[in-house]
């Protein structure tokens, strides 16, 4: 799979791909990622030339339009050591579709660059647990939390219990199980707009599960699902908050990260 794990405890230089929607809509997630990684002694880089992974275009059928975006991504991250992405669907786009985009282009250099990129790409929780070999980041979060497994984290990245291991080591956090954890929340990118009725019905079911869990906070490794859940929870004025995993892990005893 990826490049060999970093030597435990030694600082690593990590290049952040924040993802376009996090950059614009959820800057707190990015700040939390920086806080966690720097607290663990690592160096974080952010190249402002970065934009998007191309997923929205690709998944909507604008595959030709996605290719320049993919090439731009490759250029931005050509020489970096390890890439941290706090969004499993972007990681899935890169792992599942970049090779195909390269293959279809018939451009050997493109294919080589994708090949060199893939082992350096890590989803945020994956980076912590698999690459940096940390599952306790010293966080404190005294709340009842339930974890929503996004479809990409589950079926493309096969994250398994990686995010849960991180959550279980958070001081004060009570982790509550979510029913039907393998069922989609109904976001699906443009699906939420194009098939708004079905998407809303799927969301209603997911919200019922979240309420049944008894949690105060619903977390995930994708802000896309969380934006969807927030949308429904907020519309119905329900008292459950949403927070990206990084935002929980950024919280410490001194109140930082809150």
């Amino acid at each position: 799979m990826g490049i060999p794990p970093a030597a435990k405890g030694l600082p690593v230089r990590i290049s952040l791909f924040i993802a376009c929607y996090n950059d614009t809509l959820f800057p707190e997630t990015g700040k939390a990622v920086v806080r966690v990684l720097e607290r663990l002694g690592h160096t974080v880089d952010f190249n402002p030339a970065q934009t998007c992974c191309g997923q929205m275009h690709w998944n909507t059928g604008y595959t030709r339009e996605a290719v320049p975006i993919v090439r731009h991504f490759l250029e931005v991250y050509r020489d970096v050591e390890a890439i941290c992405i706090p969004s499993s669907s972007c990681v899935a786009m890169i792992r599942d579709h970049y090779p195909k985009a390269a293959e279809e282009s018939g451009d050997v250099r493109f294919a080589r660059e994708v090949e060199s990129l893939l082992p350096r790409v890590f989803e945020f929780s994956e980076l912590l647990v698999h690459h940096l070999r940390v599952d306790d980041v010293g966080a404190v979060f005294p709340h009842k939390v339930t974890y929503h497994a996004s479809c990409h984290s589950l079926r493309s990245l096969h994250l398994g219990d990686v995010p849960l291991r991180l959550l279980r080591n958070v001081r004060g956090l009570e982790l509550l199980p979510l029913d039907d954890i393998d069922r989609c929340c109904g976001f699906g990118g443009t699906f939420a707009i194009r098939n708004a009725d079905v998407s809303s019905a799927m969301l209603a079911e997911k919200i019922r599960s979240v309420l049944n869990s008894g949690a105060e906070v619903c977390t995930a490794v994708d802000n896309s699902c969380l934006m969807h859940l927030f949308g429904g929870l907020h519309r119905q004025r329900l008292p459950v908050r949403t927070a990206h995993l990084a935002e929980i892990l950024a919280c410490t005893a001194d109140g930082a990260g809150q």
Binding site: T24, P27, M56, T60, Y62, H152, C184, S200, M227
Partner: protein, 472 residues
């Protein structure tokens, strides 16, 4: 443009009884399937083998079909080739008319549903009696199948009881499963005993032997295959498998995936005709109806690996909400979302590839490993490229929006500018509560049931730049 599924789904979502029925039935089958698949340690290998055999068949379909034709003919069967639905229906009609047959009994067959055979026969005064319990329910209710394996899954027992009372002209009927099947049995028995001809689909065509395989649960199939003198099988050309031995894979994966059974109660396999037993006359109609065109699309070809187990329908969170009728095709759910538009060369069902959140649950359960999400994206891209060639499509909101977004994503500077502009543009939509509760045009789909937090004043990149400056 792509109208169709969203509108049909909106209607069906209002039918709370139907949604409860679909939810309940798919939950039950899914649990059984998970258990039946889970108890096989070699399930991943079986999937791999199933996928490999089906792929191999598709790469060599011409060879295997000719081999089947030869073997089947040698065993006393008559093989016909049908280019499309019309041709297949005409062949069936000719065979039946020649023998002056007015009534045929049928085994559940999605292929004959696909070609609208019953209606074609009906218009020539021939009645086709469905003998599968679920198909009988669909037929008596003048309804359409909503699932590949369980076509009446959208109906519950009480609804079926009412239907039987009305259509079978009964005075009394209990509502247990036993009561309902007993009524169907009585109703069907006289048709079984009087029928001179039967029509079936096929689960598999064995190229090596010319044999045809049908698996079923009720025994109605066995009756149809053995009682009448004349048997007609309509099978899609993709149903071929190379050897008899290949059944060892599919007779394990199909029942476990479809109904969660280790084995189907009835597994029928016949080769041509046999003197003094079963039908005297046997016809196989090999149906193309768009399949060879699908075969020509390298990326979508895997669609034809399907063995019609319906497992993808039972796990699909979209199908779960709407049931199969929203797809307006005999093939609903994830497999229908890729198969239907392809069968119609994207001229019908163009909204179906979008009827998915790409959650991937279908791919995970597929016993022949069809990467349905990948095919969905491929079909979306074919639809997009076709639309871009039309005036309306090129100037449509989706295309313009996506082109604009692609230009924004070309550089970090452009993205920063776009972020600043969006922050200004959102102002009129931010409600007093501080969140966005109503958006115009396309985006109104989002706000029909969901709020949106406004774009924050500072993007991450702006924060980073500010922090960097502070450091130096």
């Amino acid at each position: 443009m792509t109208a169709g599924f969203p509108e049909a789904a909106r209607e069906l979502l209002r039918d709370t009884q139907l949604r409860r029925n679909v939810e309940h039935a798919t939950d039950v089958i899914r649990r059984r399937r998970d258990q039946a698949a889970g108890e096989r340690e070699d399930w991943p290998q079986l999937r791999e083998a199933g996928s490999a055999i089906r792929s191999h068949v598709l790469e060599n379909l011409d060879t295997y079909l000719l081999q089947f034709e030869q073997a089947c003919s040698a065993a006393g069967g008559q093989v016909h080739w049908a280019r499309d639905a019309e041709e297949a229906n005409r062949i069936v009609l000719e065979i039946l008319t020649r023998r002056q047959i007015r009534e045929v009994i049928k085994i559940k067959s999605m292929t004959t549903e696909e070609i609208g055979l019953n209606a074609a026969l009906g218009s020539h005064g021939i009645s086709a009696i469905e003998t599968d319990l679920a198909e009988l329910i669909v037929q008596l209710g003048h309804d359409a199948p909503s699932h590949i394996v369980v076509p009446a899954l959208h109906k519950n027992r009480q609804q079926i009881r009412e239907l039987f009372l009305r259509e079978m002209h009964l005075d009394h009927l209990g509502d247990t499963a036993e009561d309902l099947t007993a009524a169907a049995r009585t109703w069907l028995r006289r048709h079984f005993l009087n029928a001179r001809a039967a029509i079936s689909g096929a689960n598999f065509l064995i190229a090596e032997t010319g044999g045809v395989v049908i698996v079923e649960s009720e025994g109605n199939g066995r009756m149809c295959l053995t009682l009448p003198q004349l048997l007609i099988t309509v099978a899609g050309i993709e149903k071929a498998i190379p050897r008899f031995q290949d059944l060892e894979v599919f007779l394990q994966t199909l029942p476990r995936s479809a109904t969660g059974e280790r084995m189907n109660p009835y597994n029928s396999l016949w080769t041509g005709t046999t003197a003094a037993d079963g039908p005297r006359e046997f016809h196989v109609i090999l149906l193309d109806n768009g399949r060879s065109r699908i075969l020509g699309d390298r990326e979508a070809r895997q669609t034809l690996r399907c063995i019609r187990c319906g497992a993808c329908q039972n796990v699909c969170p979209v199908y779960r909400q709407t049931g199969g009728h929203a797809y307006r095709s005999v093939y609903g759910g994830p497999i229908g979302a890729i198969l239907t538009p392809q069968l119609h060369n994207l001229e019908r069902g163009a909204s179906l590839p979008y009827a998915s959140s790409l959650c991937g649950a279908c791919y995970e359960v597929c016993p022949v490993k069809i990467d349905i999400p990948e095919v969905l994206i491929h079909l979306r891209s074919r639809i997009v490229q076709r639309e871009q060639h039309t005036f309306a499509g090129a100037l449509g909101v989706w295309n313009l929006g996506m082109q604009a977004a692609a230009r924004v994503f070309a550089s970090g500077e452009r993205m920063e500018t776009a972020q600043k502009l969006s922050r200004k543009a959102q102002r009129p939509f931010v409600a007093r509560s501080g969140s966005i509760e109503s958006l115009p045009f396309l985006l109104s789909g989002w706000t029909q049931s969901r709020d949106l937090a406004p774009i924050p004043q500072e993007s991450f990149r702006a924060w980073w730049a500010r922090r960097d400056k502070g450091k130096s």
